[in-house]
Symmetry: C2
Subunit: 326 residues, 2 copies
Amino acid sequence: MNSAHAPLGQVLATGGPELSRLLHRTESRLTEVAESHGRELARHSAGTLAAGGKRLRPLLVFLCADGQAEAALRAAVAVELLHMATLVHDDVLDRAPLRRGRPTVFADGGRAAATATGDLLFSRAFAELTAARSEDAVWALSLASSALAKGELMQRADAWSDAVTPERYLERCRLKTASLFEAACRLGALFGDRPELARALGDFGLRVGVAFQILDDVLDVSGPPERTGKPRGTDLLDGTVTLPLILARERDPELRQLDLRSAVTEPAQAGAVCDRIALTGVLGEARSEALRHVAEAKAALSELDLRRKRGEALDLLADGVVDRYA
Amino acid sequence: MNSAHAPLGQVLATGGPELSRLLHRTESRLTEVAESHGRELARHSAGTLAAGGKRLRPLLVFLCADGQAEAALRAAVAVELLHMATLVHDDVLDRAPLRRGRPTVFADGGRAAATATGDLLFSRAFAELTAARSEDAVWALSLASSALAKGELMQRADAWSDAVTPERYLERCRLKTASLFEAACRLGALFGDRPELARALGDFGLRVGVAFQILDDVLDVSGPPERTGKPRGTDLLDGTVTLPLILARERDPELRQLDLRSAVTEPAQAGAVCDRIALTGVLGEARSEALRHVAEAKAALSELDLRRKRGEALDLLADGVVDRYA
């Protein structure tokens, strides 16, 4: 668990020892999968696994499964494997040397090994979930995985564009990020004691996922790098047009005229544009947009008759995604 | 249908109008999938789809399903989508400008779009099959898709190696190619009128797939390019060690000492090494190995009490994979 992420510590505390035990078993199973498919996968995925991350998606699975959390273990592992697969492919596309301070599969094994490793993790996600014997679950995962790929295609198609509207940006957030949060919640519900809540909990996940992505995009502009673990302005450097830039362009004519592709090619230039975006005051506005999605998620959640502890933990998690490095 | 592939014409003739109709519906459904996931996928996958290919895998699905072929349509589409996904990713890794005479997704959209397009085709394969409501089928597809990725990892790990044994080469053929032939037959059986033959028909597919790959590797050395549609020696150029080279190294000390990575960097050099391999006489030996797998496949098939027409069509197909440009 990322120590910078104090709110998630509270989620764990609310979930009790059972939740911690399940997350621990998720880690063990992820390691097992990585080690049981040949030396190559073991070597390449060890880094990705060890780099860890917050395991937000498995956490959502377990919180939404409640009561029947044991049965949801495979779903939690599948969702995280799919997430890891997309990270490995993203790192190939971004030629990223590091992720969370460790060499990426791309840096370690080259693009061929990284592409194949991503494909393998992808396949194992489906294999893991199929073993859980729920058709609805496999269907939910396949929808999410299609959405992730569509979101990635959309992001690349929109790179360096000056015509990305906030609506289109939000649609991309839903596809590229929130769809997997949605699937995590949906799968949790399906394997839990309240499968009839699959859709409603999925909607909760979708909103939380959108908030998560917006905040990620705010942090890419605001930093600070020593907290986020990556330099500011990486989105600007790879042409990804995010909400802060879209909003800032509406306010600052110079930003509107800036041709990112030619004017922002090195980290120092990206940092300067980040400063300029921050000066327009839009970061607070973007953060408010994220908070709005969290508020909607929590409001919808309160309409469901969940066990109190579970509702509290999900509320805390929703707050947590926008409370990073605040 | 590739006109150079006369034996497959016979398979179709044996299968009758029903088989042709099913293949036609497979094409329609593939186009439908490509067009229903946003402009980007439609644009990028149109080329891959149009490039067509022999649709060998759907054909295997239908032949193994027999009688119940209608129900197998989704399986045929899923298998071909998975195949297309791997082709798109392979083209990224090989930086291939053309496939079957048309620009690859990589050439057309760049590596980011091609990687995401592959991921999306991959996801759609699972979505398509999940809709067919058979857990065993999704399981078979996930095993095959893991095997394909493992085979790809193995191939990259063994690149330029002088220690690849014929056994390791055959294992790679099973993983990288034959596993999807196996899945096609298995899925056909599962959706057909003889699900109890899923394993036996899967074994048939596995053997045919190994033969297919061996022959592909022979053709990479022998050409002729005007028949195969690609220059000779592409495997040598990307360091893929195949059976002809493995066998030739045993016979020709100069080939044994040749360092592929430094000595074969352009097509002309690759062509010269192809000539040298051919001179050792191993191409006939490799072709015999392929024929041996076909013979085994057919022998095992004859033990099953299949409908005569079906047995004949599968025999013809098995012969067809080693009869290309003979």
